[in-house]
Amino acid sequence: MSEKTAAAPAAPSQFKKTNQWFDVWRRLKQSKTAVIGLVIFVLLCLMALTAPIFFNYEQDVIRINVQNRLQPPSAEHWMGTDDVGRDVLARVVWGSRASLSIAFSIVAFSLFVGGTIGSTAGYFGGVYDNVVMRIMDIFQAIPGILLAITIVAALGPNTVNLVIALVVSSCPVFARVVRGPVLTIREVEYVEAAKAIGAKSGTIITSHVLPNCLAPIIVQATLSVAGMILSVAALSFLGLGIQPPAPEWGAMLSGARTFIRDHSYLAFFPGLAIMITILSLNLLGDGLRDALDPRLKT
């Protein structure tokens, strides 16, 4: 085995930088499952973006229409109607807007906060690193969603508090993911060289260190979007997230529980939407991990 890999001619190193992302894309395209994941996810994003074209928020999504309540799926209401007569399809489609936008903002915030903590800790090291990472350890000793549940329970259930809670609980993970590579990379010659010519720490971190530890960050971020969609739905299911009548998949499932015996379609479609979204992101995340680090490929 080792002989054939060793025998492959080494790629000329001066072209490595420009080809890197092209290579990642090429390898990603080769994985059928990753492409399926990507396609589904892009479609979901399109659905979220175009939802207002198909369904009016006031008219179709939150307006109560008791005459229409609890109708099974039909040509008019593809996914049926809920206990106050709202069209489930409209709510599932609009639910993607809530889930995706909130999940993306949480990941963006956590990436920023956790990334800053992790990269500075890894870069400066010493006492600062020690103190910061011990604090992160303690945060990580509390299982993620439980911490979020506590925060929402204390602050009161609404969307802003939900975002705060999930950002706080996922920061330590990002801090750790960023810190690891920063620790190894800061010892590398080109960073030493940048220090030697007197570059500022901030410049070194953003222009030399971070770009070289992007791979694990991207993978973690992709998988975290999936995790966050799940967490948002879970908290909403527990009544601690997005509040009704706003359409959210987890909250819709929670509402459907009362009617599950006779109106099971109410519990079916929102759950399916969550699962498809998570599935696509997991497929994409797996594909990205393999594409970014071919050595890990199994």
Binding site: M1, S2, E3, K4, A6, A7, A8, P9, Q30
Partner: protein, 338 residues
């Protein structure tokens, strides 16, 4: 070939072995008609660069070429006169470690980190010999003593041993059931020079003690000179020059073999310049036509890129595969300026 016909004298015969690795990136032609012969009790050096197919040749004898992606396309291997490709998987298992065993290149990774070294030696003894568990552990400790490690250290784990000691353990495993053929795949490459000499010396002693035939896979001509009776030089999955040690070393015929010798630093004459072989091994997914060495060869002619050269014999055993030679000029040589 007159000397091959007498099967009883041969410990190992490989004829026209073709092995490919079929991967997504293309088919790797690892071995392309390899011929190897080892007489009983003798040691053959298989010399070549990284990627020439040496390890694949060794693994083929144990039928351990990873499959997938490895496929044995053609050829025959006879071990003590028996064709191993006819064996069932079960029969093959009783051959491995008993009739033929292999020492792997990297002692750091060849031992299982979660078992003690005596566990790992006793395992092969238990597998092949009619001994109780206790007896095999006693024998395992004897094997450790034999390779120069105190038997009391048998209960330790591989991570507690140095590289040289790990390789001794690997050798103890390989020799535990006194195999008739031993394949040593660069057994000293991963070791320090002083440890290399110790391990080689030890292997020479053990080879005599057990009357083992040996295939010494290496890229180090010094080791070949030290330990081998005959030499096969392998390039792109084919033997391009073969002969007794003196023939190949003193009457070198193939330009590639010449290049290997010229790449050695000369300790006597420190002013002399190294003459490395130009270029790199060809990509085994896309081998050159004709003689695979022609793109790097200083003496290449038109025919070299068109036809694969036939074997030309200098004497009963010494042959080359090179268009520079025919039955007239092979004896005299003088074609290449070594």
């Amino acid at each position: 070939m007159s000397n091959v016909s007498d099967n009883r004298r041969m410990a190992l015969e490989i004829e026209n072995l073709v092995v490919e690795y079929r991967t997504h990136e293309g088919t790797v032609h690892a071995l392309n008609g390899l011929d190897l012969y080892i007489e009983k009790g003798k040691t053959l050096g298989l010399v070549g660069e990284t990627g020439a197919g040496k390890t694949t040749a060794g693994l083929s004898v144990l039928r351990l070429v990873p499959d997938p992606p490895g496929v044995i396309v053609d050829g025959a291997i006879k071990l003590n006169g028996e064709t191993i490709f006819d064996k069932t998987d079960k029969e093959m298992e009783s051959i491995r470690g008993k009739a033929v065993s292999m020492i792997f290149q990297d002692p750091m990774t060849s031992l299982n980190p979660v078992f003690t070294v005596e566990d790992q030696i006793a395992e092969v003894i238990e597998r092949h010999e009619q001994l109780t568990k206790e007896e095999s552990y006693v024998k395992a400790r004897e094997m450790l003593e034999l390779v120069g490690i105190p038997g009391t250290r048998g209960g330790e784990y591989p991570h507690q041993f140095s590289g040289g000691m790990k390789q001794r353990v690997v050798i103890a495993i390989a020799l535990a059931c006194s195999p008739s053929v031993l394949i040593a795949d660069e057994p000293t490459t991963a070791l320090d020079v002083t440890i290399q000499a110790q391990v080689l010396e030890m292997m020479k002693g053990l080879r005599e003690k057990y009357d083992t035939s040996m295939l010494m896979i290496t890229h180090d001509l010094g080791i070949v000179a030290e330990i081998c009776d005959s030499v096969s030089v392998i390039y792109a999955g084919r033997v391009i020059e073969h002969g007794d040690l003196e023939d190949v070393f003193d009457n070198t015929r193939h330009p590639y073999t010449e290049g290997l010798f010229n790449s050695l630093p000369n300790l006597q004459d420190r002013q002399s310049r190294l003459k490395p072989i130009q270029g790199l091994m060809p990509d085994p997914r896309d081998l050159p036509t004709g003689c695979p060495f022609h793109p790097r060869c200083d003496y290449a002619k038109d025919i070299c890129s068109k036809e694969r050269p036939p074997k030309t014999y200098r004497n009963e055993r010494h042959y080359v595969e090179c268009h520079l030679y025919n039955s007239e000029n092979i004896v005299e040589g003088k074609v290449i300026n070594r």
